[in-house]
Amino acid sequence: MSDNKYKYRVEIQQMMFVSGESNDPPVETTSLIEDIVRGQVIEILLQATKTAGMRGTKSIAAEDVIFMIRHDKAKVNRLRTYLSWKDVRKNAKDQEGGGTESLIENDAAGGGAGGGAQANDSSKMLSRYKKSKIRLPWELQFLFSEQHLETAEESEQIDDEEKAATIASLKRLKMADDRTRNMTREEYVHWSECRQASFTFRKAKRFREWTQMTQLCDSRPNDDVIDILGFLTFEIVCSLTEEAMQIKNSEERLNQIKSEKEKRQNPGQQTQKKRKYLFDKPDELANPLMPYHIEEAWRRLQSTDFKHKAVRNFGGGVVKTRTRLI
């Protein structure tokens, strides 16, 4: 048994399956993704420690981590939903015992926004439990010392960002729906198991060792933070996979167009074999994601947006930025 540096291959494969990659990715791809995820987690921890230090404490709170991703409203909403399911689960455990526990666990462990489909039967039960709304200290209403009470109409007003967030979550649901529409029962079971893949669910200790958290943080981050990190790592793998799939598809299109061009230019030379032999490779080669797709996806996700470049544009020099959180 070789001492394998890469510990999360299975989880990463499951997450990639959920995000659209149906072929088995090679080991190099999953190793690369694992390295990228670990780098991102370390970056999150470092910046969260810095933010906590500015508050005057040494321990990272959940808000410090959410602060990193505050610009991506869709993700923040998904995260809030995810965390609120955790609260519901805790309340359910206290109140109703083991009966509803397994059901709620399935919902809570899945990636947040998709929980709606499965929660239909349990929604009646769960609507009794209040979902605690997590307050984010940087939102507009907290800049004033007194916050006015939210009336019913106000809570229904949706601003543009929330609209975008809702649209993003709807897109995700639709994508999931498309993929699972024609699945058989076993396939769907497999699918829902894969959706529960997480870096941290019930493996908090291994996760801590893997990220070498003791060397990064002065005080031990609490379980809330670990859960949030688990959620964020899931999202990182999904974004990387989706971007890499796009790259792979456009590469295939390019190849197709090139081969068509060649065919048109050389109509006489048909290079395809007409006869099929027994030990030929399959016609449609499975194209799993290769490491270079992931590298290109990483590069694209790390591009700085225009507003950050525009002001610095003519000041001279390369715009050097920190690693962005995907």
Binding site: Q246, I257, E296, R299, S303, R312, G316, G317, V318
Partner: protein, 491 residues
């Protein structure tokens, strides 16, 4: 106030008063007889608060509270006004005349005495030490701090200070100019020397004597590493992205120059190449964006065109589009040219550091290769023979019939640009070679091309292995012209 001034001297000995003694004021009132006007320039400290005098022998503060109480009672309603006026006077807002005018109607006869007493007591207090026993008062907090630090000054400091102040001014100035670095061996501050040092190649050296004996062979190896690194061609020379061996040699050279004596892992090269490719891809992405899409985006298609032309590319947006969004019919093959690169780097200067190639792009490379126009007259090319040991011996530079006839189209007058360090030549013209790339388009000849070809053939014919002249190591101005010409015209 009246103009009587008494010469009441306030002696410190008067302040030997016990705290709380009721007859505090009587001895003072004996001295301060009535109509005493405070001096004009004196501004006694404005604190009229009661001071609890400590049990010192000297420098006790005088008690004011009783006096103020009595005064207040006597004045009654006017106390406010008096208080305000006096305070304003003490901080300088009112002049003495104004004070007098304001107060005079308030103060009846007896009260003038109180007024004087008050002012004089304040003045006396200001000459004493500040109150030391404010247990909970805010000022005492800071005063305690100040008292603590004042005892840190040791006599050594005082001695040193007095010694230094006894030195003449030149010595003192010299002492002031001593910085942290001075006196260290080998510290250079001359900019030119430092610049030259940084350009020289370096090898690591072991300071520890015993280690030095153990590792003396490696010095040769390290030197070889550095030399190999210097000799590998760089991308500008071979027009290729670096390969593994090129890169490893150059990395090894840089490591040795910075003192790292260890080895090099293969993943290092992969990471560096990956970083290089990402950087180049970012630049090329922007270049493609500029060349292909921005032209369409920023043409003025807002008005309805007169002729019903169908431009499919109106739907471009500024986002860099992936390949599958481009309609296949409109995929004209676009080649990126140097002008596109120039536009890209002008529009997005944040992509690269401003460095040599960037300036060269702007100044030199936008010329066309076909227009080999040169505004200066090049003398006949001197024959340069490279000997095997690398030195160049100039054979027979003065080739009399090497003066080429290039037809009638020789430029005689070029634009006068300042040239750095080349002297004015008397070849029949008074040209100076241009140093920057802004060449004027004149009637030109393809003289350079011809000269190159002819010069080489002539050199081949007239090879003379002459005895090198005594000043062969000093180049002539013709050669200098050729060197400069070569520098600015090679890609």
């Amino acid at each position: 106030m009246t103009s009587q001034t008494s010469t009441a001297t306030i002696n410190p000995s008067n302040s030997n008063l016990d705290a709380g003694a009721a007859n505090n004021l009587s001895p003072i009132s004996n001295h301060t007889n009535g109509n005493i006007a405070p001096n004009n320039g004196v501004a006694p400290s404005g604190s009229a608060t009661a001071a609890v005098s400590a049990k010192y022998k000297h420098n006790k503060r005088l008690e004011l509270e009783r006096l103020i109480r009595e005064f207040q009672n006597k004045l009654g309603n006017d106390w406010e006004k008096y208080h305000e006026t006096l305070s304003l006077f003490l901080i300088g807002r009112l002049s003495r005349n104004e004070l007098v005018q304001t107060i005079k109607p308030i103060l009846k006869d007896n009260l003038i005495k109180y007024h004087n007493k008050l002012l004089l007591l304040n003045f006396a207090n200001s000459l004493k030490d500040s109150p030391a026993d404010f247990a909970n008062d805010f000022p005492s907090f800071w005063n305690k701090k100040a008292q603590k630090t004042s005892k840190v000054k040791s006599t050594q400091y005082e001695k040193l200070k007095s010694n230094i102040m006894g030195l003449p001014i030149k010595e003192r100035r010299r002492i002031k100019n001593i910085t942290r670095d001075s006196g260290k061996k080998g510290k250079l501050s001359a900019g030119i020397t430092l610049a030259r040092h940084s350009l020289l190649p370096k090898i690591p050296m072991i300071q520890d004597k015993e280690q030095q004996q153990l590792q003396v062979n490696n010095l040769v190896q390290w030197q070889q590493d550095v030399v190999n690194g210097i000799n590998t061609p760089i991308a500008t020379q071979n027009y290729e992205l670096p390969e593994y061996d090129n890169l490893s040699r150059r990395i090894l050279m840089t490591m040795r120059e910075h003192g790292l004596t260890g080895g090099l892992n293969a993943p290092v090269l992969e990471v560096i190449l990956l970083g290089l490719e990402s950087h180049l891809k970012n630049i090329v992405e922007s270049a493609i964006d500029v060349a292909k899409y921005r032209k369409n985006k920023y043409t003025n298609n807002d008005y309805i065109p007169v002729e019903p032309s169908s431009s499919k590319s109106e739907t471009t947006n500024s986002k860099k589009r992936t390949f599958d969004e481009v309609e296949p019919s409109s995929s004209k093959d676009i080649t990126l040219s140097i002008e596109d690169m120039y536009d890209t780097l002008e529009m997005f200067p944040h992509l690269i550091e401003p460095n040599g190639p960037r300036y060269r792009l702007a100044n030199v490379m936008l010329e066309n290769d076909d227009d080999t126009k040169v505004d200066y007259v090049l003398p006949p090319r001197p024959d340069i023979i490279t000997v095997s040991n690398g030195t160049a011996a100039h054979a027979g530079a003065s080739n009399p019939d090497g003066h080429l006839k290039v037809g009638d189209k020789v430029n005689t007058v070029g634009s006068q640009a300042g040239s750095e360090g080349s002297s004015v030549l008397h070849n029949g013209t008074a040209n100076k070679p241009l140093m920057n790339g802004s060449v004027k388009h004149e009637s030109e000849s393809d003289s350079i091309v011809k000269k190159d070809a002819d010069g080489k053939t002539i050199a081949a014919h007239h090879v003379q292995h002459a005895i090198p002249r005594s000043d062969a190591h000093i180049g002539s101005t013709d050669e200098l012209k050729w060197v400069l010409h070569d520098l600015i015209s090679t890609m």
